[in-house]
Amino acid sequence: MHALWKQGCAACPPRGAWLNVAGVFSVRGLSHSYGARLALDDVGFDVEPGQFCALLGPNGAGKSTLFSRLTRLITGTPAQIAIAGVDLETNPRKALARMGIVFQQPTLDLDLTVFQNLTYFAALHGISARDARPRITAALERLDMAERAHEKARALNGGHRRRTEIARALLHHPQVLLLDEATVGLDAAAREQITAHVHALCADEGLTVLWATHLTDEIAPDDQVVILHRGRVLADAKARDIAGAGDLKTAFLALTGAETGPTSGGTP
């Protein structure tokens, strides 16, 4: 499978044929360069519907560039990207509608309440304030944030802000949830809670999750792991298969080499 991608898009099946697989999340032949610097080099992987996929890579591996491409903040060299079965290049708006996004950077308006923040976001997806209300209540309850709905975002701690952002990303009922280092800057307890919440969303609601991180302890043995290093996919398998007899962290360090530095603790 991996070898197929290496041959580039000439070897890919014709556009459309591979998209008929219902709900599949798939990236094929994705390269991206900033000037002379190649940030992504022929990246490709599939995520089955309802699968938690960790995108694991040290800082500078290309995770953020991959996220920018998947969310169409930037475009570039054509690639085949399917979001829940929708081609991102030919049908970007439909693909974006199926996608829930939690950015690495904080994106809440701190002067607005949690409820106002979510209402604003729902409106950006064309959901009226009236239709948004039950969705907001449900999403906040799902994340144990219901009682904070009318507090200003500024009053929330980092963990609760992140939970608000995850609740917000669920309002338009996406099929795929993308999170770019969602636990950066959080303390250990909040990090564990957020990680557990998102794993639960995946298991209970059948959401496909793409979770970018550089921390191996956020990954469960059953999760799919795509290891990204210097813009290339080094491994794509279940966490327990990559870990083998040892643990995932050791395997990850061995794969990416010694220059990756410490892999624990929330670095910005």
Partner: protein
């Protein structure tokens, strides 16, 4: 279509809320033109003799002359400040929410422009009210006729700010915007002195002032304040609005990320 309107309404609502939350910005937006009106104009009144030029039908004081220009100044600063907030937004990440909405990007950006224009209009009306307190009044019909002119000027200058914000990488560059956009636009226009005065001193400067879209916007506002429609000024302002808004939408095209990272 309702989805589009829902989004537009929310974007304008958020712009409004942000403005309400920044009370200092509102005060600064009013103090700036008032200082010009009360201090600067008093000093210049003696130095500058104004002849009767349309739309004025009688001799006017210098204070009366510069009110339309100061209305333009309010809109100019607000447009640029919205651009500053966009750079800030993009750094903070909330611009990402806007850019990853499934609605078309041009629609969202135009909604944002309408939001910042609405704020400009409110500021200008408060300023006109304060000017009236200081004794500079317009014919009553002028206060209504000026509304469309203010909205158009707001869209034009907001569009320019939006375009600039797609190029500015850092917050500090706002100082550069002040020096290279706001000041030249304001001083090389008919805001502070009639163009014929400028022509007396330098023909080249007169030409620059004439083609400055800010001059056209100020003249559109000036005539509207007296219930008159200045067709050439409208044409130029509308054309400049189309160009600036078009450039802004192009500036936020994701394919431009090929060259630089949005992150």
């Amino acid at each position: 279509m309702t989805a589009y309107l829902t989004a537009m309404q929310a974007i304008i609502w958020r712009e409004g809320l942000r403005f309400v939350h920044q009370r200092e910005r509102f005060v600064a937006a009013l103090v700036r033109p008032l200082v010009w009106l009360v201090v600067f104009a008093a000093g210049f009144r003696a130095a500058l003799g104004l002849s009767i030029i349309p739309p004025y039908q009688t001799y006017i004081t210098y204070e009366t002359y510069i009110v339309p220009g100061l209305c333009g100044m309010v809109i100019l600063f607000n447009g640029m400040q919205s651009s500053l907030s966009l750079v800030y937004d993009r750094e903070m990440g909330s611009m990402r929410l806007l850019l990853t909405s499934p609605l078309p990007r041009w629609w969202l950006l135009v909604s944002k422009l309408l939001g910042s224009s609405a704020i400009s209009v409110v500021q200008v009306y408060v300023f006109l009210g304060l000017a009236a307190v200081f004794g500079v009044t317009m014919p009553p019909v002028g206060y209504i006729a000026v509304l469309p002119a203010l909205i158009l000027a707001g869209l034009m200058l907001g569009g320019l700010g939006l375009f600039l914000s797609s190029w500015i990488r850092q917050l500090e560059n706002f100082a550069g915007v002040m020096n290279f956009v706001i000041f030249p636009m304001f001083f090389l226009s008919s805001a502070l002195y009639p163009l014929w005065k400028m022509a007396e001193s330098s023909h080249a400067l007169f030409l620059i002032c004439s083609v400055n879209p800010f001059t056209q916007a100020v003249e559109l506002i000036r005539f509207a304040l007296y219930g008159e429609f200045n067709a050439p000024a409208f044409g130029w302002t509308a054309l400049a609005t189309l160009v600036f808004v078009g450039l802004a939408i192009w500036g936020y095209d994701p394919s431009r990320g090929k060259k630089r990272s949005l992150a």
